[in-house]
């Protein structure tokens, strides 16, 4: 059994399907869905539902060899679901997949991330060489460019 972490800042809906493919989601695994602080409650619930629907699709897809669902299909399925808890129970009962929702953990993680980033930044002097021009060998697909607060 493994745990797959879904960061809703970067993964939702059909993108989650791709993540499950890469990580090899199988029955018995756990899904840890992280909430981002800037996300409104309504958007958060919708994202959790879409991630769980994608997981359900994926687990059935693996069994039947079907194609990746389109976003429309996931949204259609959303109408048939009787709430997030029902979907969570369905994943548990049908595939033994535990869904862990990390609403509280997120603020804590944000704090410790900042500690890490500021701590690492102390390794450098103010006059370090500019490295922005150095050739990139491999971009990081998970990188989220920083934007100043509005």
């Amino acid at each position: 059994m493994k745990q797959i972490v879904i960061d809703t800042e970067t993964v939702a809906g059909t993108a989650a399907f791709g993540l499950f493919q890469r990580e090899g989601l199988v029955p018995g695994d756990a899904l840890r869905i992280m909430r981002r602080p800037r996300l409104q409650q309504d958007a958060w619930v919708a994202m959790v539902m879409l991630v769980m629907l994608a997981a359900k699709h994926f687990l059935r897809h693996r069994a039947q060899g079907g194609a990746e669902p389109k976003a429309d299909e996931l949204l259609q399925d959303l109408r048939l679901v009787n709430g997030a808890e029902a979907l969570r129970k369905e994943l548990k009962d049908e595939f033994s997949v535990e869904v862990i929702i990390d609403a509280e953990l997120d603020a804590d993680r944000e704090f410790w991330t900042n500690v890490g980033l500021w701590g690492l930044s102390r390794a450098y002097a103010d006059d370090e060489p500019d490295i922005s021009h150095i050739k990139v060998l491999e971009p990081n697909p998970d990188y989220i460019p920083w934007k100043p607060e509005a």
Binding site: T10, G116, S121, P139, N140
Partner: protein, 112 residues
Amino acid sequence: MEAGSVVRAALPQADSLRKLRPAILIASFPPFGDWFVVGISSHVELAVPDLDVVIDPGHSSYSTTGLSYPGVVRLGFAHIIPKKHIEAVIGSVDGATLKSIKLRFTGHILKA
């Protein structure tokens, strides 16, 4: 992206902006896949004897880091950062250098 990669990390500054800084990936940690990293500063004079690793033109990894200047790997400022703050891989250090950094870490911890 793997242990031993030299990456550009987007780090905060006092002026509220971010700056890209070179760092070496040491190990990835569950459950989030965050990376334990060490920074490479150009200020080699700050190297702590028997702890920090200086990568200068005589070093086996000098030509592969992607940096065009000598640097000191500052182990005392190592931290764990999420993947999303790592922009890209720009180079690497060889297996012997990575092992040496790890051994200096563990050696320092074990003797403390």
